[in-house]
Point group: C2
Chain length 294, copies 2
């Protein structure tokens, strides 16, 4: 099975799930719902939902048992992109090949659409009670909330912004890699396993895999910011260097960063060895994360 | 027991809980943590935590069994104030008698501090698993997430902003009252009952009480915006009229709005009749909500 054959039907499931979960544009307040749908349904790789689903499958579970949480993870990702793009933060105007949310809908609606997507994510986690135990959903709630907040995504974003003003140092880059992207990637993987009742040893391996893959992902992203094709990645190339962002590229150059990204992905794959062929989708995802062009 | 005697020790519990839950200012990223603490620990009435605790007590439970969720509700309230005050939204510079978060810490930090407080709220709800059933916590998660999002607080805020540009109509005012403040007030009351295992009939009465009280609360707030003392309420007086906000005051005048607020609070109290003296704190809270001066 190719990655494409694996991913396509699952991405379709996730996008149908998001479409059902997002309020219709005809419902009041229409503009807010338009902005939420614009951002959450924009073309994307759906890496976090795929990781959640693949982790569930690696534990012998199926996509439908984790679908609400997989959709929740994409909502959190979309929320973070909307807020990161705001004029007061990265001030980006292009995202996924389209005007950013605040350019399309204004700043007030963008801020509130981000907030509403974050709230919707937790509604979706709660909905996962229909196909997972209350205990598992409680653990996922704790994981995802922590990964999103000050010890995770939001904290990483703050340090990322602060670091623009300074020379990149390795400790700060690791801090940002672990939290800004890494924490939610890790939570995506572990959540998938927890919801289908994965055993402690497997969950531990999934956590190691997720932690390594999160850093590999951010390193690959930073490389793409230098050598990517603007039309393919859907956002401006070269913006990190212009802002003196703290990245592996700033520390080790493009080649060095790419090597580290690949090494982290292979280390991640090695953690899955005892899980056998059930974990093949996770292995393919790790390859994809570092070799992608968008 | 006076309201003061009832509320003081419980407010102290909540503020200690918040202090423990909020990351220390000495931890990286320090500025984010400073902003979170500045907003969440600012002097406040702590109405939502008190309602949650009083509802738990009305069901025969105690404050300590709902404390994490009570603190979570205050975090969500603080998050909503930070974002509502932003230049792109209400553009307020004074809140709780102090500069608003974005004035004190800059817009980027304020946006992210709001996000981080929202994430922390869900971490706290997850922590409530230590002293409530997983099933109850799952129900509270669903309630609070829905009350915060597009069908609740955020949706209400959007319509509130939209309504500034138009003549106030009763349907829009009811929409805003039910969602902007009402939804989280209702969720606060019901959560307290759910976490301590309140029976279906009591929960139903608590929901009726919460729904009526939420509207009474917003009406009283809007009256204070006209006749309040700026030093006491801690924010500018008269700003709603200047912005043509859709309120009961705009529809019915100050006296009419105050009458409606009192009538709603008394209707709320009437719903509690079968619950006996255990519900006295909820009755006092309803009186306080409409008679307060800040």
């Amino acid at each position: 099975m190719t990655f494409e054959e694996y991913a396509s039907p699952r991405i379709a499931l996730v996008e149908q799930g998001l479409d059902r979960a997002l309020p219709p544009e005809t419902l009041r307040p229409e503009q807010l719902h338009r902005a939420m749908r614009y951002s959450a349904l924009a073309p994307g790789k759906r890496i976090r939902p795929l990781l959640c689903i693949a982790a569930a499958e690696a534990c012998g579970g199926s996509a439908d048992r984790v679908l609400p949480t997989a959709c929740a993870l994409e909502c959190i990702h979309a929320f973070s992109l909307i807020h990161d793009d705001l004029p007061a933060l990265d001030d980006d105007t292009l995202r996924r090949g389209r005007p950013t949310c605040h350019v399309a809908f204004g700043e007030a609606t963008a801020i509130l659409a981000g907030d509403a997507l974050f709230a919707l994510a937790f509604q979706l986690i709660a909905e996962n009670r229909a196909c997972a135990s209350d205990e598992a959903v409680g653990r996922v709630l704790a994981l995802v909330a922590e990964a999103s907040g000050t010890a995770g995504m939001v904290g990483g974003q703050v340090v990322d912004l602060e670091a623009e003003k300074r020379e990149a140092d390795p400790e700060t880059v690791e801090y940002i890699y672990e939290r800004k992207t890494g924490a939610l990637i890790l939570a995506s993987v572990v959540s998938g396993g927890v919801l289908v009742g994965g055993d402690a040893d497997t969950l531990c391996r999934l956590a190691d895999y997720g932690s390594l893959l999160g850093r590999a992902f951010q390193a690959a992203d930073d490389v793409l910011n230098v050598i990517g094709d603007e039309a393919t990645i859907g956002k401006p190339v070269g913006s990190d260097a212009a802002r003196h962002k703290a990245t592996y590229v700033a520390l080790f150059g493009v080649e060095g960063a790419m090597e580290r990204s690949r090494a982290l992905a292979h280390e991640a794959i090695a953690k899955l060895a005892p899980l056998g062929p059930k974990a093949d989708p996770l292995r393919m995802l790790a390859e994809y994360v570092v070799e992608r062009t968008s």
